[in-house]
């Protein structure tokens, strides 16, 4: 049996939230998904604030909840640390008092608890605000205190609900760096929930994609980026995802458009085209066997050294070219372009 095993279902007004999770000690699971996918429901269910409708949760050999045998530990008896999305820092307490709260509740003396709390704050790079009142902390500082409060009880299960989503870009980077640093010394299982999918990819041992209460895809981070199985995952991986039926060297996708491919599996497949493998031309291109579609330029986003061109027509694609190429092609005037992709640069895998 794994260190952490959860198989839970929670009924919700619009859809049920159901998810299976499993992890070894020290692992980090990232749960990603759009807003309203039920991610916070998973947090509330695991920490015991929301009862399960079915399923069970086992952590470090102890059953926390088992609907079948009517077992349900209250939050107080679960070794859990939660950094809530709403932070929920205690007002009228300083940062250090907030962080020490859990240790005090578990019976630690005030002086000892405050000392450990100060150390945890320091580990997160927030020692200078230790004695600041909770209501006077900035967004990034408050987030660090919330993380420190969750870590300070040395829980078996650490739940991080969108730990950076409400911060500006600068504090996001700062908080993320502090968090990653603190997690290196954390022995339990971490569940990192976010709708900013790239965030936990570097450290996660598994990424679970949740949409409308269901797991739509799961795997190691690189697998998700290489083989997205839903538009949401494709979007964060930054690739074009099409679905179609393959005959080996051709895939017919929605609308009847054919995509020429190399060595595709037969039957229902996903087709992935990376935006920077799409070449754009104003004139019909010549040369090697390739896919060529005549599409409309819908709009252009400039992101640093790249221009992302959204194309519509028989296919909806995003192409990535250099800004100077966009200027040479006169894309600002919109109009029609030829989009060309080599068959060898189209990736396919079974649905």
């Amino acid at each position: 049996m794994s260190y952490f095993e959860a198989s839970i279902t929670v009924r919700r007004p619009r859809f049920d939230v159901a998810i299976d999770l499993e992890a070894a000690e020290g692992n980090i699971i990232a749960i990603i998904g759009p807003n309203g996918a039920g991610k916070s429901t998973v947090v509330d269910a695991l920490c015991g604030l929301l009862p399960l409708d079915s399923g069970r949760v086992t952590v470090a050999g102890a059953a926390w909840e088992d609907v079948g045998s009517r077992l349900r530990l209250p939050p107080q008896r679960r070794s859990v640390g939660v950094a809530f999305q709403a932070l929920s820092l205690f007002p009228r307490m300083t940062a250090v008092e907030n962080v020490a709260y859990g240790m005090r509740a578990l019976g630690a003396r005030k002086s000892g608890a405050n000392r450990v709390a100060a150390e945890v704050l320091e580990r997160l790079g927030a020692s200078e605000i230790a004695f600041t009142a909770a209501e006077r902390l900035s967004g990034g500082q408050a987030q660090k205190v919330a993380l420190a409060r969750a870590l300070a009880v040395e829980p078996h299960l650490l739940l991080l609900d969108e730990p950076t989503s409400k911060l500006d870009v600068m504090s996001q980077t700062e908080v993320r760096r502090s968090l990653l640093h603190a997690l290196r010394e954390f022995a339990g299982v971490t569940l990192w929930i976010t709708h900013q999918p790239l965030e936990p990819l570097a450290v996660a041992t598994e990424v679970v994609v949740m949409e409308k209460g269901r797991v739509t895809q799961r795997g190691i981070p690189t697998d998700l980026q290489l083989r997205p199985r839903s538009p949401y995952v494709a979007d964060f991986a930054g690739v074009n995802l099409l679905e179609g039926r393959s005959t080996g060297d051709r895939v017919v996708v929605g609308g009847g458009t054919a995509v020429t491919v190399a060595n595709a599996p037969l039957g229902d497949v996903f087709v992935v085209i990376h935006p920077n493998s799409i070449a754009l031309h104003r004139q019909v291109p010549e040369g090697t066997p390739r896919n060529v579609w005549r599409l409309n330029v819908a709009d252009i986003d400039y992101e640093g050294d790249r221009a992302r061109v959204r194309l519509t027509g028989e296919l909806t694609l995003v192409a990535e070219i250099t800004p100077s190429a966009a200027t040479q092609l006169g894309l600002a005037d919109k109009g029609k372009v030829w989009a060309a992709v080599k068959a060898t640069q189209v990736r396919t895998y079974p649905r």
Binding site: Q76, S88, F90
Partner: protein, 269 residues
């Protein structure tokens, strides 16, 4: 810009309309006049003798004991009731809330009669209480019961509002950190609703101090046993108008003193 703000003022969003000012002034005068009258008619020469008479000292002592006992009882039984009304959904909750409000709308004399029918020897619980040696009517304990009946609803109503105003996610966070329910109440919930606790306590205590109708109906007017300051004022008024004014000023002074120190203390974290 200038014409814009002028327009706004003309519409009454800036300055108060004159008619409002006049009506508000009349209201303020209405509250001030009786106080001014008490002070203007105060028989300062006889004040010391009146204030140090045994009847007055008895009444003062009893009033303090009764009002603070009521406050404590109201907290002990009212806090859980307020929590229940605010946080739990159960059949009959609205009925229960209405029941709590009854003493606030019931004439206190009727409340006193009701207390008699419940706790006097002939009352619903009278026999039971007598068998275990408890007599309430015409005793200091009876005065506490009457004052609590009339004053605790003020505390309960305000506390219920306070409980509802607390962000329950804070309590959830405390629970995940291992805090027991009592600890959460003490360290998170009550501090977060402190304005309600302090306002409710002040209202409840003041109402208990001023309690008259239910007390005199349920307990009579026995010096040293059930004669609180308001009852003393009433009795003195029959024969000695000056004495009644002195006692009224004493009651006023006690009320102001305690309310100021109570709110001051309760405001402190």
């Amino acid at each position: 810009m200038a014409s814009g703000s002028g327009l706004r003022k003309a519409r009454g969003e800036g300055a108060a309309p004159a008619v409002f000012l006049i009506l508000a002034l009349i209201a303020a005068t209405f509250f001030l006049l009786p106080l001014a009258g008490l002070i203007a008619h105060a028989p300062w020469s006889n004040a010391i003798r009146e204030l140090t008479s045994p009847a007055t000292l008895d009444a003062l002592r009893l009033s303090l004991v009764v009002s603070f006992s009521s406050l404590v009882l109201s907290f002990v039984f009212g806090l859980p009731l307020a929590w229940l009304l605010s946080r739990k959904r159960f059949p009959g909750r609205r009925l229960l809330r209405g029941l709590v409000l009854v003493p606030m709308v019931l004439p206190p004399v009727v409340g006193g009669v009701g207390l008699l029918t419940a706790f006097a020897r002939f009352g619903l619980l009278g026999d039971t209480l007598a068998r275990i040696g408890i007599t309430l009517p015409f005793t200091p304990a009876g005065a506490v019961i009457a004052a609590t009946f009339e004053s605790s609803p003020f505390l309960i109503v305000v506390l219920e509002g306070g409980f509802s105003s607390v962000d329950q996610r804070l309590e959830g966070a405390a629970a995940t950190l291992g805090a027991s329910r009592v600890r959460i109440l003490r360290t998170v919930t009550l501090p977060a609703m402190w304005p309600a606790v302090s306002a409710g306590a002040a209202l409840c205590w003041a109402r208990a101090l001023g309690e008259f109708g239910a007390t005199i109906t349920f307990n009579g007017n026995i010096q040293g046993r059930t004669q609180t300051l308001p009852l003393d004022v009433y009795q003195t008024l029959q024969t000695n108008f000056d004495g009644a004014i002195t006692l009224s000023l004493l009651l006023l002074a006690v009320a102001l003193l305690i309310l100021i120190s109570l709110r001051g203390n309760l405001r402190v974290r």
